[in-house]
């Protein structure tokens, strides 16, 4: 299976996704921003459409356009604190509107399914490079801002009092979410990204451990889900996104059942 170049590309990207999604997803889930991740995942379709139209690598264009939407959400969130869900609906309408208009007008000729459900056949060496660059920058950003990001999620007031520029950190975080979405589009697919943001984190939270251990556990669970999706996709010819989502749900259920059984015994 791994003798094929397309599988090697897909595997490499999958490993990077299994690092990125739980790492950023952890902060999204704990700050109760999971829906922002979901909205931006859908909004990335506009980025893909714009990239295909402008003949730019769709991962790069998805990152650029999703970043604009992510920052826009952050700006609007500061201004309209009481209408957070409405902001997401507006961004969703705008982005999906752009995507559907471009794709349905026939201005671009592409298999949209591959972007929606994920595909192992379409990962090009250029994609691998784009994903690797985005991942390295994101990992470095999280490494350097780790205490600020954790404390901001845990206790926003305390973090402000400690002198952290919370607004700046929030904008950087918005870009990190955009990077996570862009990285995941090819293999996982736009429709499934949100399951990889939230489910491995939800499962890891069941373990009742500290922050670092929970994040590492989420990465392991995410890795299992993506690799299972990849291998199944190879043997069954199905899109990897579907299996990845199903395995994520199964892992969460298994951990919950295990916990319940242990509590009874």
């Amino acid at each position: 299976m791994l003798e094929y170049a397309f599988m090697q590309n897909a595997l490499l990207v999958s490993v990077l996704i299994s690092l990125m999604c739980p790492m950023i997803g952890m902060f999204l889930v704990l700050r109760r921003y999971s829906m922002i991740g979901d909205t931006l995942a859908h909004a990335s379709l506009a980025g893909v459409a714009v990239g295909l139209l402008a003949k730019v690598n769709p991962i790069i264009s998805a990152f650029a356009v999703t970043s604009v939407f992510a920052v826009l959400i952050e700006v609007l969130r500061q201004r309209f604190r009481r209408y957070a869900e409405l902001i997401l609906v507006i961004i969703l309408s705008l982005s999906v509107g752009i995507a559907i208009t471009i794709i349905s007008s026939g201005m671009v000729h592409t298999n949209v399914e591959a972007f929606l459900f994920g595909s192992i056949l379409t990962v090009t060496p250029d994609d691998v490079l784009a994903v690797a660059v985005l991942c390295v920058i994101s990992l470095a950003a999280v490494y350097f801002l780790y205490p600020q990001l954790v404390m901001l999620a845990f206790d926003e007031d305390g973090t402000k009092i400690a002198g952290v520029k919370t607004r700046l950190i929030n904008y950087i975080f918005a870009l990190l979410v955009a990077a996570m979405v862009a990285v995941s589009i090819r293999v996982v697919g736009i429709l499934v990204i949100s399951s990889l943001i939230a489910l491995p984190v939800a499962a890891a939270l069941q373990l009742g451990k500290g922050f670092k251990v929970t994040m590492l556990a989420a990465m392991v669970l995410s890795f299992i889900a993506i690799i299972t999706g990849l291998v199944t996709s190879y043997w069954l010819g199905a899109a990897p996104g579907g299996v990845t989502a199903l395995v994520s749900v199964a892992l969460l259920l298994l951990i919950i059942i295990y916990k319940e059984i242990r509590a009874v015994l």
Binding site: L30, Y146, F154, E156, D157, G158, K209, G210
Partner: protein, 221 residues
């Protein structure tokens, strides 16, 4: 020293909460802020902490480091997967305190070092409060601000807590505490600042408690 002159504050949508606050807190003082629910005590604390900007007036602060002890679960997410040690270590890093031993020292000072591997959400009210004080001590604060420190903790822990607060005061740390526990506030505080109808004034702690007892028979805690 913190000095507030003619401070006014109103939330975006609401009416004016603080109308004319004048207050001076000198170095080394222990001030208890008291008042009814919704009188604006917590808003006043947020102004002192710089979390809110006054709509009008002048706020001068000469304390270079301020520690804050929030109400136990008001701002903290009890489900958050974080150990006591992680809370302390990450806070040390964002405060840019170079001394790595500060975490151990502050936890030991509050007698909670043995809880370092526990998740913060699994601690009792008293234990959590001690950890939050240890966290506030990390930056060697000149001023410590408490928001209703005795909320949600048992009587024994309350007695311990106020003993700690008194000890910190004796070490020269200025203390401002929002209080609903009048008994302890009157015993510890040098002065009380009573907030009512958007205005505030200093009063003698013992006299305030006596007055309160007369107005609300059996109402003082």
């Amino acid at each position: 020293m913190i000095e507030l002159k003619h401070i006014e504050f109103a939330y975006e949508s609401g009416s004016e909460l603080l109308r004319d606050i004048n207050m001076q807190v000198n170095d080394g003082e222990y001030i208890a802020i008291v008042g009814e629910n919704g009188s604006g005590k917590s808003t006043l604390v947020k102004l002192l902490l710089g979390l809110l900007e006054p709509s009008k007036g002048e706020l001068k602060n000469t304390f270079s480091s301020i520690g804050y002890v929030p109400q136990r679960f008001e701002t903290l997410n009890s489900q958050f997967p974080i150990t006591v040690y992680e809370v302390m270590e990450y806070y040390r890093r964002i405060l840019k305190v170079a001394d790595k031993q500060a975490v151990r020292r502050c936890l030991e000072q509050m007698h909670v070092y043995d809880l370092r591997d526990r998740l913060i959400g699994t601690l009792s009210g008293g234990q959590c409060q001690k950890v939050l004080i240890a966290r506030a001590l990390l930056g060697s604060p000149q001023l410590l601000i408490f928001d209703e420190p005795s909320t949600g903790i048992d009587v024994k822990s309350q007695q311990e807590l106020y003993k700690f607060m008194q000890e910190l005061h004796e070490q020269g740390i200025t203390i401002i505490t929002v209080e609903h526990n009048l008994k302890f506030a009157a015993r510890n505080a040098d002065k009380m600042y009573h907030v009512m109808n958007g205005h505030g004034h200093f009063c003698n702690p013992q006299e305030y408690v006596q007055e309160y007892m007369q107005d609300n028979v059996g109402g003082a805690e």
